[in-house]
């Protein structure tokens, strides 16, 4: 038997109008952590879907040789039967079921169809310990936060005795702390039980930290596989990914900051499910025209909740405080009012709240600003096509045409559609919640450029992000939030990561 546990040879996969993979070869050694990187739409998820039988045998060309035998998976059960487990880019847990139930879903501890709950719970507790979830086994999955949800997915894979674990952007939605935990866990599992991992990621520093080998895809083709035993440089990977040198990660800019355009005063928000609990506590912030203001905080610091409550009370109950735009107090009781007052909110949760997946690109882009293309009563669909094309080009949305359904786009390209939609609504105040999550380095640069341009046009840009380098790279000023409070404000030029972290830690320790 060869040293390879998996060999995928000459895989070609076509969708109507696109060749997502052409002649890709991909080999994974037994017992390694193998990273798969590439731009948005390069075909990473598609390759893994081929491997796990989601795209069944016959719908692609080429061979899959796993543990020395040729495999023809017809569905995901076939591949699971061989010990291959996949954790998708978008999590697939059942929110109302408990952790234990989710771990054993589709793989129940049962006899004659009757579930043995004692056995289930016991096994679940063990698995949870192994992956490091400190929660009750009967906690509902919707209440435990993304970081832990990701761990539940891993526990689920372990319960199936998997030998090859595929993770599609596992850390995209996680903060640094949770990411570190997850990566450590992968390393441990890899060492202790010899589990082979394939990890797709856009966070190159993580890739370099944990991977043994790195394969780079570009435009559906394998560029090369690098050995990471003595660390490869990020620049090297980037060059392979985008096909050229990328000298700067962040575009240059000279801020042109004007008057205060938007203010949040004494803003307090309560949990809609528990009106006693305050999620945002007396926040005060101001935003100047032409300025990019970062909002940094750990998971659960209330950033998203703050943003959504401001955006026409899309979240929260018993909201009090004042909003001031251009010196005038405004009340935004619903999202329609927020939009018509020039606010836009790019959600962090694009799958469930960002897009209408069954509709096409142009349709989604115009959705929040249909008035712009409506004359009398009639929505001008031709104008819409033109607008769709314009944004498709400007943002480099990788797609067959503006008529492609957004559900068929790669994750990163979906994000570009969401951004296009809000930019098309030409807001004065643009709130971006994790705008570059799951976006490749090249495209990030494009998006930063667009954000900077919007600022140049005199808009207030508010950028919520968990990525410190990004916050430090493009904002002009930043607020730090912790446990629902604004605990610090600094000029980005004077801020360091250490300052920011110590501000957070001190504010927690202060009480």
């Amino acid at each position: 038997m060869s040293e390879y546990i998996l060999q995928m040879e000459n895989i070609t996969k076509k969708f109507p109008g696109v060749t997502a993979l052409s002649n890709v070869s991909f080999k994974v050694k037994k017992g390694e952590i193998h990273a798969l990187v590439g731009e948005n739409g390069a075909g990473k998820s598609t390759l893994m879907n081929v491997l796990s039988g989601i795209h069944p045998y016959g719908s692609y060309e080429g061979d899959i040789i796993y543990k020395g035998t040729e495999c023809k998976f017809k569905n995901i059960r076939d591949s699971e039967g061989m010990g291959i487990a996949i954790i998708h880019q978008e999590l697939a847990l059942s929110p109302f079921l408990t952790i234990a139930e989710n771990i054993f879903i589709g793989n129940e501890r049962a006899k004659c169809g009757i579930i043995n709950w004692d056995e289930t719970n016991k096994a679940a507790v063990q698995l949870m310990k192994r992956v490091g979830i400190r929660e009750r086994y009967d906690a509902q999955v919707k209440n435990i936060g993304v970081g832990k949800q990701q761990l539940v997915e891993i526990a689920k894979a372990l319960s199936k005795n998997c030998e090859l674990l595929i993770l599609d952007e596992p850390t995209a939605a996680l903060n640094d702390e949770d990411s570190d935990h997850l990566l450590e866990l992968l390393k441990t599992l890899n060492k202790e039980s010899g589990m082979t991992c394939i990890m797709i990621s856009h966070k190159l520093h993580e890739v370099i930290k944990v991977a043994n080998s790195i394969t780079i895809l570009r435009d559906g083709k394998t560029i090369e596989t690098l050995d990471n035993s003595e660390s490869v440089s990020e620049d090297r990977i980037i060059k392979d990914m985008v096909g050229r040198e990328l000298t700067d990660r962040f575009p240059e800019h000279t801020p042109n900051i004007g008057d205060i355009g938007f203010e949040i005063k004494d803003w307090t928000v309560h949990d809609p499910l528990n009106e006693e609990r305050r999620i945002v506590k007396n926040a005060n912030m101001n935003f100047r025209k032409g300025e990019i203001v970062g909002v940094y905080g750990l998971m659960g610091s209330g950033r998203t909740e703050l943003a959504m409550s401001v955006f026409g009370k899309a979240y929260g109950s018993k909201i009090c405080g004042t909003l001031i735009k251009e010196g005038k107090e405004i009340t935004l009781n619903n999202i329609q009012q927020a939009i018509s007052n020039g606010l836009a909110y790019v959600t962090e949760d694009r799958k469930t709240a960002g897009l209408v997946h069954i509709q096409d690109i142009k349709w989604n882009i115009t959705l929040s600003n249909l008035k712009q293309i409506t004359k009398g009563f009639v929505v001008n669909e031709d104008e819409e096509i033109i607008i769709g094309k314009e944004y498709r080009e400007k943002f480099n949305i990788k797609s067959t045409s503006v008529f492609q359904k957004v559900g068929n786009l790669s994750g990163g390209n979906q994000q570009k559609v969401v951004l296009s939609k809000w930019i098309f609504s030409s807001p004065d105040v643009l709130i971006l919640d994790e705008p570059t999550r799951g976006i490749d380095v090249g495209a990030k640069y494009e998006i930063y450029k667009i954000i900077l341009q919007l600022a140049q046009e005199g808009k207030c840009v508010i950028m919520i992000s968990s990525e410190l380098p990004e916050i430090l790279g493009i904002t002009d000023r930043l607020y730090i939030m912790n446990e629902g409070r604004v605990v610090g404000e600094m000029k980005t030029s004077e801020a360091t990561p250490e300052d920011i972290m110590s501000t957070i830690i001190n504010s927690s320790a202060g009480r």
């Binding site: 999202i335 209408v356 997946h357 509709q359 249909l370 409506t374 009563f377 031709d382 033109i386």
Partner: protein, 407 residues
């Protein structure tokens, strides 16, 4: 060429349905020995199924909001016809007034249901289940088990045709009809119908070309010319054949005008207006729609209020055709309407479906209804057949969708 292909691809679903309708027509054409396409029967097809067409339009809107259905439709038809009938028969109001009162009753009932669904968030299934019981009960209370005869305007709407403005003008065309070897060959052709059909078809074709021209001038993308010509020719021919057919019978039914107006209006709303957009957005992903500024409560309310309104129109039409308001009218109407929408390609999850589809679906239902009645199939078997067709239509849809996803 690839342009043509792309265009066809984008519209396959529409053509698929028409082909299904044609196949069913031909099928019944054969087993009824051509009876189903007799002018008389085509005219009946329109009249007898107008209520399904009207209800299917409204039901499509409800389904688009997120796969929600309205179960109360049949009962509401009964309530409205009872209410309206009582006004004219018992209280002696003039028919036009009692018809308006009937329509207001339906609208009110729709608003009532819309309120509970949109603002109190009682699931539509439950709200309309309650409505189904309440409205049927009210009908029985009003009618007290009796049937009220109706006359005048009701009957005109239900069974009447537009008078012939040019009798005996088109005698020369008669022999085309004679070629068909019908059992009772037509003796005259209805001038109104022929003129209306011809004028409409010309206007439609002109409109198609003018709008293409205009789009082109402004630099918008247009459908390839051969496609447009073929489409225009087909539409021209179909409209004229259809009007010729009806001209051989009684001419232009008033009901057909009503249905056509509703069809055009609601198609326009669904495809061309912001309201329509928001409806599709909501059904496609309610949360995303809401965050994009769609007022989902309002949409829900409007869909159900409108369903009440269209139910009342269907009620007047039905009462007119039966010339009575009776206690058991409208039973299973909701099922016909829901079935039409799903045959016509609506998604059970919402966000997908067209008014046009609902209409074709309703015609498929109608052809089956009439065809099976003509061959004298027993009603229970008819019900079995209709049920299976709905099932297979949706199954086929699902199958072809899963195919296209993985090819």
């Amino acid at each position: 060429m690839s342009k043509v292909k792309e265009f066809v691809n984008r519209n396959t679903r529409q053509y698929g349905m028409i082909i299904a309708l044609l196949i069913i027509m031909i099928f019944f054409g054969i087993i009824t020995e051509g009876k189903i396409i007799w002018p008389r029967n085509i005219s009946m097809l329109v009249r007898q199924n107008a209520y399904v067409l009207i209800l299917a339009i409204g039901m499509m809107f409800c389904i688009l909001t997120g796969g929600n259905i309205d179960l109360s439709v049949g009962s509401l038809v009964a309530l409205v016809s009872a209410m309206s009938g009582m006004m004219t028969t018992t209280l002696g109001l003039p028919p036009w007034l009692s018809i308006i009162i009937g329509i207001l009753t339906g609208l009110l009932a729709g608003i009532w249901q819309g309120f509970w669904i949109a603002f109190v968030k009682v699931p539509p299934f439950i709200t309309t289940l309650a409505g189904m019981l309440v409205f049927r009960g009210l009908n029985n209370i009003i009618l007290n088990g009796k049937t009220l005869p109706l006359s005048g305007l009701y009957v005109t709407i239900g069974t009447g045709s537009v008078p012939d403005i040019a009798p005996n003008t088109f005698r020369d065309f008669l022999h085309i009809g004679n070629l068909l070897n019908l059992q009772n060959p037509p003796k005259f052709l209805n001038g109104t119908m022929l003129i209306v059909g011809f004028v409409l078809s010309v206007i439609y074709v002109l409109f198609m070309f003018l709008s293409r021209q205009r789009k082109k001038k402004r630099g918008y993308e247009v459908a390839p010319l051969p496609m447009v010509i073929i489409k225009a020719a087909l539409i021209f021919i179909v409209i004229n054949i259809f009007s010729y057919w009806l001209a051989m019978d009684e001419g232009l039914p008033i009901m057909l005008i009503l249905v056509a107006i509703l069809f055009v209006t609601y198609s326009f709303i669904a495809t061309k207006t912001i309201l329509g957009r928001h409806l599709y957005a909501m059904g496609g992903n309610a949360k995303a729609a809401e965050l994009s500024g769609v007022n989902t409560k309002k949409m829900m309310f409007l869909a159900y209020a409108n369903m009440g309104f269209l139910s009342s129109i269907a009620a007047i039409v039905t009462a007119g055709r039966m010339m009575a308001a009776s206690p058991n009218v409208g039973v299973n109407f909701e099922m016909d309407a829901i079935g039409s929408c799903f045959i016509g390609g609506a998604s059970a999850y919402g966000g997908v479906g067209t008014i046009w589809g609902a209409i074709v679906g309703a015609f498929i239902m109608g052809v089956m209804n009439n065809g099976m009645s003509i061959i004298g199939l027993n009603v229970f078997l008819q019900s079995v057949a209709k049920g299976l067709v709905v099932l297979f239509a949706v199954a086929f849809d699902m199958y072809s969708k899963s195919k296209s996803r993985f090819c």
